[in-house]
């Protein structure tokens, strides 16, 4: 069965901490893995990963994919209260199929 599993489901940290969010997957004919951030409304796109070992970076956020071990991590350094959100991982596979994980709810305490 194709699946995407995110961990932890929720996380509470203090401002300034570094967090690592995990996404593991089991799918047939993997195409890409995507990370989204969802605050109160629409999920907004963060990263698309297709190749192993190549880190993608945007400010304090970075992500990397391991296609051998079938997982990805999303790192956020020096967290700020504005980073509080649900972080969604999605995997595209086969003929443009996509599965989303249940998300990690991150809360940053001031």
């Amino acid at each position: 069965e194709d699946k995407v599993v995110q961990s932890p489901l929720s996380l509470v940290v203090h401002e300034g901490d570094t967090v690592t969010l995990n996404c593991s997957y089991e799918v047939t004919n993997f195409r890409s893995l995507l990370w989204y951030k969802q605050e109160k409304k629409a999920p907004t796109f963060l990263f698309m990963l297709t190749s192993s070992g190549i880190e993608k970076k945007s400010g304090r956020l970075s992500s990397i994919l391991d296609k051998k071990e079938l997982f990805s991590i999303l790192n956020i350094t020096a967290t700020q209260t504005g980073d509080s959100a649900i972080y969604l991982c999605a995997v595209e596979f086969r003929d443009d199929k996509i599965i989303f994980g249940k998300g990690t709810r991150l809360h940053i305490l001031p």
Binding site: R31, S32, L34, Y36, K41, A42, P43, T44, F45, M48, T50, L88, A90, D95, D96, I98, I99, F100, G101, K102, G103
Partner: protein, 114 residues
Amino acid sequence: DVKVTQSSRYLVKRTGEKVFLECVQDMDHENMFWYRQDPGLGLRLIYFSYDVKMKEKGDIPEGYSVSREKKERFSLILESASTNQTSMYLCASSLGQGYRQPQHFGDGTRLSIL
């Protein structure tokens, strides 16, 4: 920037009503998607469409239908609304098959069925 617009942010309907949720994108995207998002269950795909008048079932199509008469518009229809269809509904679009571009989401419609 891609703009995906959902017609209503909040909607309250009664059991048994026929409900229409509308979604419009302005970037000439081929692919459009409807999801529902529920606590503890994440986003689940209801239906998607790769082209005008084309539709495919997602993971949870029961109780729903869709219509794509024009490329920019993808409608989700609840034929006879039930309380278990109370949820947040998200529409998304992407460029097309083979382009490896991410989906862009609308702001969502929070639907309550009484």
